[in-house]
Subunit: 287 residues, 6 copies
C-alpha cells in the first residue's frame, strides 16, 4: 500500500505542470538515437500519448534516420554529402520521400497508436501545409532537392487538433515549381512552432544540452535567456556545430515560440522528464 | 536521474486508466474523516484537481461532518436522533443549511481552488436542480426537514461541466411545499450519479470496503457483481449497517451507473489509488 | 373587459424599454430594507425574474443585512466597528462567510426560484472569480478580514449567463494569501459591473436618490451626468455619506458602466419602476 | 407613484404566462377587421412585437382583405365567387399575388417594424416553403388558381427564427405544375402550425368565439376539448359556417398543435388579452 | 463520346474561377432586357443557381421594368418624369411598391426556384435592412417618394446566407419618417455591395460596357482601374449617361467592393460568361 | 462569343447533377491505367478537384500499381502470387507499405493539390481508422501480410471532411496483432463506402463496365439493379473475373451504399462523364 501511495504522490507532483501546459501546443522534433533504439522508440510513443491525454497538443516532426541511406543503397544511388547535407538528385528525391513519408512516418504513427494515441502521419505536401523552394548555401551551391521552407499553412494542423489527433510530420514539402523538397527536420519543426505560436519547441537529440564547459561536458545549463545565449556565442562557449542550432533557436524565440528545449533523447522518458520535473534534464531557451 | 526516470514510469502506469476514463463523469461522495483531517482534506482536493485535469468530469457531493452539531449547539438546539437521522425542526433547518452550504461547501471549494481547480459550490436549491419532499420512515414517522429526493434537473451540472468547473454540492434541496430539506449526502450522490449516467459513483468512507470475513476485517472484496452482492446479503455476509448502503448501490447500478466504489478515505490519496491502480484499494460494485 | 384592456396597455408601455435593454446586463446591488421586509423580498424576487424573462441578464450582489450580527452574537463575538466597517478577526470571518454564503445568499436564491427564476448562488470563491486582499484605510489601519477587490475573472458569470441562470453573489472572496475576505457589497457590485461592462449598475438602497435640497429631501435629481455630479460635490450639495458612494459611482462610469442608479428599495417593485417607467423613481448617473 | 406601482403589478401578473410560453411558437392567422381598422392594425403590431420580445416565436399568416377586390376592379376583372371562394383565372392570379405579397404583406411588415419588431414578409414561394396544387371541391369543381397545401418545408421559418425575425406570410404558393396558387389563409396557418408543432394557433376573427347559445351570443365557451367540440357539432350547437372551421381546428389538434384559439380581433389588444389573462377572451380548443 | 469529353473539358476550364470565388459574395443588379425577354429570364435564373451551387453567395437586386408603368396606367396615374426619375406621389408609391415587391420580385423568385434554387424575395422594409430618406436633386427639387439610402443593416442578408438562400431584393425602403421610398436599384445594389464588402458588384445592363471609341461602339474596355476611369472621364471618353454610373462605381470601389462589372444582359448567359471566362464579356472596374 | 455561350450551356447541363449530389459523399477507387498514364493522372486529379468544389465530398482509395513490384525487385524479393494475390512475407510488407503510403499516395496528393485541391494522404494506420486481420482463402491458405478489413473508424474521415480536405487513402491497415496488412484496394473502398453510407462508390477500372454480350464487348449495361445482376450471374452472363467484383458490389449495396459504378478509367475525364452526363459511360448498380 505504501508503494501505491508513493506512486499517487508522484502523480500529484506533476499537477502544477499539467495545469500550466493545459491546452498549449508543443512541437517535438523527433530524431537521433531515440528514433533507432527500439526501447526508446516505445518510450517516446508512450510519452507523447501521455502528454496528449493530459491536455497538451503535441505535434511531432521527425527526421529520416538511417533508413534513407539504406534504401538509397538498395536502389544503387551513391549519396554525395556537402556540409552535412545530402545533395539530392531528381531520381533520389522520390526514394527519400518514399522512405520519410512511407516508412519513418508510418513507423512512428504505428507506435503512438499502439499505445493508445490517435496519430495521423502527414508530410508537408498534405493539405498542403508546407511550401518550399530550393536551398542555396552562402556560396550559392545548389543541393538539388534540398529545400528551405517559404511558408506554412496551419489549416490541416488546426483541423487535426480539433479532432484530438496527434500530427506526425514527415519533412517533405512541395514547391511552387512543382518539385518535391526534402527539408531539414529541425528547420521544419522550428517553422511550424513559429507558425502556430507554440508554447514549447523540443528537440530530442543525442546530446544533453548546452554546457558551460563544453569540452568536459560539465556544468549543463538548465535554463538560458536569448540574450545570455547570444553572449555565450560571442564568448566562444557555444561554438562549432551548436552555433547554427542556437541561432535557429533564437530565431524561433524572436518569432514567438515561448520556450525551446534541447534534450537528450537517449535517456528513458526524456520528454516527460523535461516537461514534468523541476529543472528538467536538458537546456531550455527563453526570452 | 534514476529517481526521475522512476517517476516518469509511474506516470505512464496510469496511461491506460486515463485513456479509459477520458471525458467520463465520476460522482464522488465526500465525507467522514477525509473531510475532517487537515492533511487528508488537502490530499482529496489535490486528487480531485488531478482527476479533472486528466479529463475526468468530477462532481463532488459532501456531507456536513461535525460542523452541524457544533453550530446547532452554539444556537442552543438540542438535536434528537432517530435511526441515525437528525430530526430537524423548523428553526434548526436554517442553521443546518447555513453550515452545509456556507461553511462545509465553501471550505471544500476553497481547498480545491487552492490547488488550482475551478470549483463552484452549489446546493440543490441552486438552478434549482434537486427537488425534495419530506422523508417518512416505514412507520410513517416524520423527521421534520429531513428530505428525500424526488427529481434531479441536471441543467446546472451540464452548464458547469461545459465551463470546465468542478461542481461541489451541498445536500440541501427545496421542496414544492416551499420548505428546505436536508437530504442524506449518500442518497444525493446516488441520485445525481443516476441522473447523469455517471461512469463511477465513489463513496469516500471510513471503512475499507466489503469483507468476506467481516468480523475479522479479512478478505477485502476488490470487485463484486450486483448478483454476487445480493447473494452475500442473503447469506448474511453483508449485514448490519452495510445492508441499506449496498441496497442503495444496487439501485444505482440498476439505474445505469456503471460502477460504484466504497473506498477508505482515511488512506492518503485514496481516490487516486482506487482510480489509477490495478485492483484499487476498496470494493467496486458492477453489473 | 375594459380592465383587461387597460392592463394590456400597461404591458405595451414597457415595450420601448424591453427593446432597449434586450440582451444587456444589469448588476443589481441588493441590500437594505428590501432584503429584510418579507413583502419587499418577494417583490424584488418577482422583479428580477421578470427582468430576466424579458431578456435582461441580471446579476445580483447582496449584502448580509442583520443576519451577520445575530449569528456573531450567538457565537459570542463582540464586533468592533470602525468607520462603519466591522473589524473582522480570524475566528469571526468563518461565521461571516457562513451567514453570507449559506444563509443570506440561499434565501435570495430560494425566493427567486420560487417565482420561477433559475438563480444560482455563488460567492467570489466559486470559480474562483473574485480575488481580494486586506483592506487598509488611509491611516493604514488593519481591518482584519475586510477585503478589497484586486481582480475579477468573469468566466463563471459568462458560463451562468449562457445557461440562462441568474447569478446571486455573496460578497466573499479569497486572497492570494489563502485568507477569506469579506468585501463591501457595493464595491463588489461596482467591480463586477466594470468587469463585464454592464449596461446598468443599480443600487437598491433605503434612500430615494440624490436631492438638490438634501436637507429637506426636496427636488430629487432624476438624471445627472458625471460632470454635474462632480460639480455638486464641489458645491457641497452632495456631501457626507453620499460622497464616497458618488465617487465610487463616478469610478464605475469611468470604467465603462453605462448608467448607475440609486433607487429606493423600500418602494414596492422599485426595480421595475426604475427600469420601465419614464423618469424612473431614483437618481440615474451617466457620462 | 401609486399609479406606477399599479402598473408594475400588472407587469408581474403576466409573469406566469411569459414563463409558460418562453421559447414556444405561436402561429397567428391575421385577418378580418383587425386588418382594416387603422387603430386595431397598430395594436396588433404592438402585440406581436411584445410577444416576440418576451420570448415567444410568432409566425403571422395574413389574408388579403378588401385590397384584392379593389385592385381586381381597377384591372377590370369581374370576380366569380362560388361557396365563398373566388374562382381565380390565369390573368387574375397575378393580380391577387401582387396585392397579397406586395401590398397586404408589406403593410403588416411595415407596421410591425414601426413598433420595433424585425418582421420579414415572405410568401410560400420564398424558400420555397409551401407547395400547393389546384383545389377541387367535393363535386370536382375547378376553382382555377385556388390551391390546397400539399407540403410545408419549414427551413426558411427555422432560419428566420434563428435570426430572431418575425415571419409574415402571404398565402400564395407555387405548384409543381409551375402555377401560382392562392390558398385560404386559415388553411395556410393551420398547415404551418402543424408542420412546426406550434404551441398555439390563434385565429384573429370578427367573432368572439364559440357560444353555447349561438343564436343569442350568450355563454361564450372559454375552453373546450376536442371531444366536447365533436359532441357540440353532433348536437347542432356548433353549426353553419363554424362547422368547417371547427373541423379544421380538430385536424390541427390531431396533427400536434397544442391549442387553437378563436378570438375577437375587433377588441383592442385581443392577442395580449387572450395570451396573458386568465380565461382569455375567446374560445380555446385543446386535446 | 468525344462530344461528352469536350463537355467535361469545358467544365474544367472554369475550375480556377470556381476556386477563386468560392465563399465570396456577388451582388447582381438585375434589370433591363434580361428582365423582360422570357428566354433571357430563364437563363439568368439558371446562371444564378449555378453560381450559388458552386459556392458563390449571390445577392440579387432588381428593378421594376415596364410593369410599374403598366399598373400605374391601370390605376389611372399619370407619371411625371424629371431627369429620368419618376416623381412619385403619395398615392402612387403604394402601387409602385406593390408591383416591385409583389410582382417583379416574386417573378424572379419563382424562376430561380424553378431551376432548383432557394430564393427568398424581400424588400428593404423586411428586416428592416434598408433605411431611406427623400431624394433631393442638386436644385433641391422634391421627387416625392423617390428615396436615397441612408444606411444598410445586413442582419437579414447574413441570416439568409447562413441558410443558403438567395436573397432577391426589391428596391423599396422605409424611412424614419414612416414613409415608403422607391430607390434606384443601381444605388441599392451599390450600397448593399459596400455594406457587405462584396467581391463583385455586377450590373446586368443593355449595353456592352465601356468603349474607348464610344460613338462607334468599338474597342470595348475589358478591365479598367479606378484611376484610368477617372482619367477617361476627364478626357471626355466616358461621358453623358455613363458619367453618374461610373462615378457611382468608383464610389463602390472606394468603399471596399473589389470589382464592379458592367455587362450586357441581352447576351445569353452573360453572367456565366463574365464570371467564368478569360477576359469576360463586359467592362470590369478595379482599384 | 458563340463559342463562349456554348460553353456556358455546357456548364448549365450539369446543374441538375450538382444539385442532386450537393453535400453527398463519393468513394472513388482509383487504380489501373488511370494511375499510370501521365495525362490520365492529371485529368483524374482535375476531375476530383472539380467534384469537391461543386460540393461533393470525395474520398479516394488507391492501389499500388506497378510501383510495388518495381521496388520489391530492387530489394531483391521474389514475389509469389496465388489467386492473383501477392503472398507477402514479414520483410516484404515494410516495402509494400513504404511504396503505397510513401510513393503512390503522395503522388496522388501532389497532383490533386497541383490542381488546387486540398488532399491529405493517409493510410488505414492513421487515426487509426482501418483495422485488419490476416486473410485466409476458402482453403485456409495463409497469404502472410495480406489482410481483410475487420472494422472502420470514420473519425478521421469526418474530421478531414469538416476541414474540406480530400482524403487520399493508401490500403494499408494495422491489426490487433500489431502487424501491418496490405488489403485489396477495392475491398478497402467498399468497406469505407459502407461505413460512411456513401452516395456513390465508383471503381475507376480498365474495363468499360458490364456487357450483355461480354465476349463481343457489345451492349454495355448502363444501369442495373441488384436483382438483375444476381440473375445475370445465374445466367452466366456475368462470369469469370467479374463474379467476385459484382458479388462485392452487391454486398456494398446491401450495406447501404446507394449506387456503385464501374467505369473505364482509360477514357479522358471518365469521372466527370459518369457523374455529370445522362446515362454516364459505365455500368451503374443500384438497389
Amino acid at each position: 500500500m505504501q508503494e501505491k501511495i508513493k506512486k499517487a504522490k508522484v502523480l500529484l507532483e506533476v499537477l502544477p505542470y499539467i495545469r500550466e501546459f493545459y491546452g498549449k501546443t508543443f512541437v517535438i522534433k523527433y530524431g537521433g538515437s531515440a528514433m533507432i533504439n527500439p526501447e526508446l522508440k516505445e518510450m517516446v510513443a508512450q510519452d507523447l500519448v501521455l502528454l496528449k491525454l493530459v491536455g497538451i497538443n503535441v505535434v511531432v516532426v521527425h527526421g529520416g534516420g538511417k533508413h534513407i541511406s539504406d534504401v538509397l543503397d538498395k536502389f544503387g544511388f551513391e549519396s554525395e554529402f556537402r556540409d552535412g547535407l545530402r545533395v539530392t538528385g531528381d531520381d533520389e528525391i522520390g526514394v527519400v520521400e518514399m522512405v520519410l513519408s512511407g516508412k519513418a512516418n508510418k513507423d512512428i504513427v504505428t507506435l503512438i497508436n499502439k499505445h493508445g494515441g490517435n496519430a495521423v502521419g502527414i508530410s508537408g505536401k498534405d493539405g498542403p501545409f508546407l511550401y518550399a523552394s530550393a536551398y542555396r548555401d552562402s556560396k550559392g551551391y545548389d543541393y538539388g532537392h534540398v529545400g528551405t521552407i517559404d511558408s506554412v499553412d496551419t489549416a490541416i494542423l488546426q483541423n487535426l487538433e480539433k479532432g484530438s489527433f496527434i500530427p506526425v510530420i514527415s519533412p517533405i514539402a512541395g514547391g511552387n515549381d512543382g518539385k518535391t523538397y526534402n527539408v531539414n527536420a529541425d528547420i521544419v519543426a522550428g517553422k511550424i512552432a513559429e507558425a502556430i505560436g507554440a508554447e514549447k519547441l523540443i528537440f530530442l537529440t543525442d546530446v544533453q544540452g548546452i554546457f558551460r564547459d563544453f569540452e568536459n561536458k560539465k556544468d549543463l545549463i538548465s535554463s538560458i535567456s536569448k540574450d545570455e545565449s547570444i553572449k555565450l556565442m560571442k564568448d566562444g562557449i557555444i561554438s562549432g556545430g551548436m552555433l547554427p542550432k542556437v541561432n535557429s533557436i533564437i530565431g524561433s524565440i524572436d518569432a514567438g515560440v515561448k520556450k525551446v528545449h534541447i534534450i537528450n533523447g537517449t535517456l528513458e522518458h526524456s520528454l516527460l522528464l523535461e516537461v514534468f520535473t523541476t529543472g528538467g534534464i536538458g537546456t531550455e531557451f527563453h526570452i
